[in-house]
Symmetry: C2
Subunit: 220 residues, 2 copies
């Protein structure tokens, strides 16, 4: 089965599908999928926002949280995996031998780019239909609370390329009365403090520290 058959959409401009599946490591002069990924992410955000708005009477805060559990690397790489997108991505040799076809970030990014490509090739309504079909199970999981974002696992996966890396979460201090303490966590990476986290529990503080480090690391 081709990708087009799997997502039940036939591209008018086949070139867009090719760009969506081209990772930046792929050699040659071909355009990579980074710009389409940017567009696809915004398309997904709106489709999921609209769906949550219309179909469930959730508060704004609740919608924000559930959306972030649907439009995230964890959920989108799962969808990409089910479409076996990894087999179709154009990667550089170095990326292939280091497991690039299975890498969650590559899968999630290619998925976002694919949705960006469908949007450019068609329109919002058609893309909505494609997305709600593919992400149906992820949406149900997120609504049931089963898709909760785990930044510590994400960070572990992010740095696992180098097996010697050691991550520790150290409680710096806690403040406030017993029933309402705030915990300050330092994230130690190979002996250096690289980020801080704050939370109403140690676990929450650790998640926050991992999240902050990931967001910094990805900007660089």
């Amino acid at each position: 089965m081709t990708i087009e058959e799997k997502i039940d959409y036939r591209f008018k401009k086949k070139e867009l599908l090719k760009i969506a599946l081209t990772h930046s490591s792929h050699s040659g002069n071909s355009t990579n999928n980074e710009r389409l990924e940017f567009l696809g992410d915004a398309v997904l955000e709106l489709i999921i926002s609209e769906y949550l708005f219309l179909s469930h009477k959730l508060s704004e805060g609740k919608m924000t949280k559930i959306r972030s559990n649907i439009v995230c690397a964890e959920s989108l790489s799962k969808a990409a995996y089910e479409l076996q997108l990894g087999d179709h991505i154009f990667l550089g040799k170095g990326e292939i031998v280091t497991g690039g076809r299975q890498r969650k970030s590559n899968l999630a990014n290619a998925f976002e780019a694919l949705i960006g490509a469908v949007f450019l090739d068609s329109n919002f309504e058609t893309t909505r239909k494609v997305v709600l079909e593919i992400l149906a199970s992820n949406i149900q999981l997120a609504l049931s609370g089963a898709l909760v974002k785990d930044y510590k696992t994400e960070l572990q996966e992010y740095i696992q390329k180098n097996n010697d890396n050691v991550i520790e979460y150290i409680l710096d201090r806690s403040e406030g009365p017993e029933h309402n303490k705030t915990f300050y966590i330092n994230l130690i990476f190979n002996g250096d403090c690289v980020s801080h986290g704050i939370g109403k529990s140690k676990k929450e503080g650790e998640q926050d520290a991992a999240k902050n480090y990931l967001s910094k690391a990805r900007k660089i």
Copy 2:
């Protein structure tokens, strides 16, 4: 001139326009604009993403930055101000006497909600036309680099309700060789360290600390 005339869109469901302009402080059983604001934000993100994608050959990183300077409180409150949206927002009395009609966050939120309402009342294509018309000058300013997000100013505005609040930015430490230092900044709020920032200059670290504090404060 009515709002509908100003944005050149006539609502089929007038109720949506009313909800878009209803602040949470407004008394009575009327629905407030928080959910529409959530939707409208995602609508704006996609419209601006698509515009930047199609009309300018910018990198993904550059598009992200420019978009964040267009879809932000600063830029949207400016657009809302030009539409004189403040005169039409339904506010609680307490909010009115403390300057709620001029408050940037109220203006920006009502603007986002208004766009969310247009989207629900029509479709993506119609909303795109409305948005690109209203935000034309902001888009040009952002592309020229004139709309740069200033988190320190934003934080100052955010906390200014209480004039006794004092914010200080303290250099915790710097690390690395002279030509490539990293600066660690502590944000001190009324004597307590409330957030941290990291940057390649003190200024950048201060912006990061202000940004981190804002994002935490808004979650609470």
